[in-house]
Symmetry: C2
Subunit: 551 residues, 2 copies
């Protein structure tokens, strides 16, 4: 059965009942239809301080690792064990939904529902972000058109427009043409909405006051004298903030097994930090004994950023980290071609294990208990599953098979028991870098200690920026690495666990609102394109309003 | 007190209570927070067939005529008279909200609430339209990029991108630049979302089946052989339709006096037909004894299109038409400058009355009872109000003063009594043109009988199109005139009631999905710009989430 069919056959509980289960009364939520709600802010304070479980993974491969599916299934397993549980996930972007098959709401019997709504417009957060982002763009171009009091250099505008659509034709555009009444011509480009700094801000803001503070300090570009210009200087902090008033409230839905799920915010894990909102995670911690959350891409990107960028704001580090791996994906990391993944191949698995091994070691480096979740696929052989478990255990890493796609929470009971046991282990979080380290020290610690690289080479522009940013006082912000998700290195083809490579930083991008500096390595795509046959071509809506063709 | 302050001090009823008042049970609506809902489709059938009241106006002037305010106040007056009433209005566009002061939710004590939500993201309909529109654009450009099986001519793409933002810099753009992996370069432009054909479609669709049919037949452009290409041929009717699944459901809110208000759809009244959705009006007619609705701009644009384009789909013509005028605006039509409008000036009023007189005569031409609502402003003198009443009455037109801004429904009791009396008058609707008239006959009937023009001159392109459209079988569709709203003619400066002028049609635009052909006269702006000091600059959001600076 297809994911959407399983989801459509589910008997959902009314969202008021899910809210009650999570400890929220009906006047603490705003209903969006019968099965979605926003949680009003501030979420009631209580004495609870639940355990936090971070789900991350090996470097993604075309074979799929199923991180969201494991997060949902594991959450349902905690519920089956009668633990008070909340799952916190990122909101899917609509662009990829129309492009490639594969939503972001889990799969099989480990899904969050209503899956169509969550994958389409949901509660409008993405649309609010798109609108706020592009309203700011319009205000910038209008400022230039109306006399340009701030002396913005139209060749040095950093703030790009966005759409929540995969649209390669908008990556590079020329705007403002058509004559003197149509604006000032300049080059611009559209990113996908999840790459907007406003998305990162929404996910790091602690409350409305913090949201406004962050929006006000966004650097939109430079003057003709190369001085940075902020949103506050443009005088529109209020207008941009009020467009995000409702988007800031976390969204409540449920899993197929009726576990409360908070799905809120979804920044890119390359150009941004790749985790759901701080407010969503905090809400989980306030309401539940166990909050399960995930970070985007592999542990080198998502988990590193969770631990180094998000936790200082969150004020809480994970009690256990779950690293998801699949036999199929590890065989690919071991060099097995995609069309041969169904063949049993213990030596490819052994070779590919190096990738998992490195990520587990990285997470241990933060001094947090780690467990490997082997996300079972029907083609996995008994021998392969056993071999992978043994490889992990020989390194002292507990590893458990989770069969969550087919069995839901029941497929992860043992994993949940292990995780809850690890959560009780005493440990002191050991951060990767100190806040006072400068940008170069931070980049180098990430590269050498997390990626396993030998050194960092900075391009001409990056070297100049290191000097400029020091002058501007931006040189002690956290670093957000923009790197391919497919490899620990900056070469997407270097699968497995490459060593002794060089990372090339070509440019830095100040994201003062988000509160970090992005370091660009390689080619980072911030606006995806559509494939030859987009998923959109298979979608339909029946006359009764039933959606099909969504994956 | 400012409109927003009056609105924020209002004690709203819960939307479930408003629904109940309208005759809808809680399982016939989907709540969006406590004070907004979507009405599930299909709306229950019942035997009721309520009266329909259309509110229209003179040609707008910078002095303001207050059509929405009168519609809301009049609706509240019907409620005070214990009539079961529903108000049906258009949804405001966010672009102008950020640009010029002045929302679209009425004013003073005649407002629909929650005004901030309605003026900002509301229930996401505009965002769904923006997304559906631009997803179609991305699919078109991707089709060209991926081999262009349909042989689309990239110089002849009709389908433009949209944003719900006033952004002049996006009127004319070049997209797809940056090299061979970034698409195919071509000229494009962004309209404001309310100008999208999808908005017109949403407002004319009778149900999901009709929505899909209309979307499928949208002409997106022409092949290199100049053959039209539709969305159905592109194979994405389903994907675009499902993005509008929820947007198709009418939205329920309330007036300050708790009269149910259905606010749904808001197409431009120049490039499109300027009325709220057929589904919203139909829902009103099914639920209430009196449904009050308005049409955009003056009666020459909005009401003509309501009567000639919307009513054939709606299957119902108005029982009474209310033409709104103000003393101030008529004095401007009579030549009084804007800065002198506070001075009493009966002769300017007499001169300006010609504009009102013409609109009233036009509405009478359809053989529907007409009443003039004089929307009172505090600067109006007793003598002026009396004089205007007498001018109307000497033409046999009933005219009543409505003081709805200051007094709400109480200020329009007499007007409501008169309207309800007129609704009982027997009359046979007399359409302006027959469906079988060709495009030229239709344009000429509109120009001579409604505008008061002498003749129509077609430009070279328009003449060629008249031939082409005949070949394509598009020559018997209704005509949607795109003309300035400020004058009965196509010259915005020709105020009052110009006569014997020529209307210049320079181009036709096929809107096969909406089911009409647009005739472009003069310069029609489909993407507004922001003013020197945008309204956005005064907006704020308090740390407690209270919005200010919205008008």
């Amino acid at each position: 059965m297809k994911d959407i069919e399983i989801a459509q056959q589910a008997k959902m509980d009314k969202i008021t009942k899910i809210a009650e289960k999570a400890g929220l009364s009906s006047d603490q939520i705003e209903q969006y239809g019968d099965y979605k709600a926003k949680i009003k802010l501030p979420v009631k304070e209580n004495s609870k301080s639940g355990k936090l479980i971070l789900v991350t993974s090996i470097n993604p491969t075309p074979a799929g690792e199923g991180k969201s599916t494991v997060t949902v299934g594991l959450g349902d397993a905690f519920s089956l064990l009668k633990k008070k549980t909340v799952i916190a996930l990122r909101e899917p972007s609509l662009g990829p939904v129309m492009g490639m098959k594969g939503g972001a709401t889990g799969g099989g019997y480990s899904q969050v529902v209503p899956m169509e709504d969550i994958n389409l417009h949901f509660t409008g957060d993405m649309h609010a972000l798109t609108t706020a982002n592009n309203t700011l763009s319009a205000l910038i171009d209008n400022h230039i058109y109306q006399g340009n009091k701030l002396h913005l250099d139209q060749r040095r505008i950093l703030w790009k427009r966005v759409l929540d659509i995969n649209d390669r034709a908008l990556r590079h555009v020329v705007i403002g043409i058509g004559g003197p009444t149509q604006g000032i011509p300049r080059e611009d480009g559209f990113d996908i909405t999840v790459a907007s700094e406003l998305m990162a801000i929404l996910c790091l803001a602690e409350d409305i006051a913090d949201l406004k503070k962050r929006i006000g300090r966004i650097v939109i570009g430079y003057t003709t004298d190369k001085e940075p210009v902020t949103v506050a200087q443009l005088g529109v902090t209020g207008a941009i903030s009020l467009l995000l008033k409702d988007a800031l409230k976390p969204n409540l839905v449920q899993t197929l097994a009726h576990t409360p799920a908070i799905i809120h915010g979804g920044p890119f894990a390359n150009i941004a930090h790749g985790c759901n909102s701080v407010l969503a995670t905090q809400t989980g911690l306030k309401l539940a004994d166990y909050t399960l959350t995930e970070a985007g891409f592999g542990a080198d990107l998502g988990a590193e950023k969770f631990l180094d960028i998000k936790t200082p704001v969150l004020g809480k580090t994970p009690d256990t980290i779950v690293v998801v791996a699949t036999v199929r994906a590890l065989k690919m990391h071991g060099g097995k071609p995609k069309n041969a993944l169904k063949e049993e191949d213990l030596s490819a698995l052994t070779a590919g294990y190096a990738n998992l091994q490195k990520h587990v070691a990285n997470m241990r480096r933060y001094n947090i208990p780690v467990v490997v979740a082997i996300n079972q696929f029907s083609s996995d052989t008994e021998a392969e599953l056993k071999h992978l478990k043994e490889l992990c255990e020989s390194d002292g890493t507990p590893a458990l098979v989770a069969d969550v796609w087919a069995k839901g929470g029941k497929g992860a009971i043992e994993l949940a028991e292990k995780v809850s046991q690890l959560c009780e282990e005493k440990h002191d979080f050991k951060p990767l870098y100190a806040p006072e380290d400068d940008l170069q020290e931070k980049v180098e610690k990430i590269v050498t200690q997390i990626y396993g690289g030998a050194n960092v080479v900075y391009g001409t522009k990056a070297l100049r920026q290191l000097k400029d940013f020091k002058t501007l006082g931006w040189d002690h912000l956290p670093v957000c690495m923009a790197k391919t998700q497919y490899s620990l290195s900056d070469d997407p083809k270097a699968i497995g666990a490459p060593r002794d490579f060089t990372i090339h930083v070509r440019e830095f991008v100040p994201k003062l609102g988000a509160g970090f500096v992005v370091a660009l390595t390689g080619n980072v795509l911030t606006m995806p394109g559509l494939p030859k046959v987009p998923a959109a071509n298979e979608m339909n809506l029946s006359n009764d309003g039933i959606i099909s063709g969504l994956y």
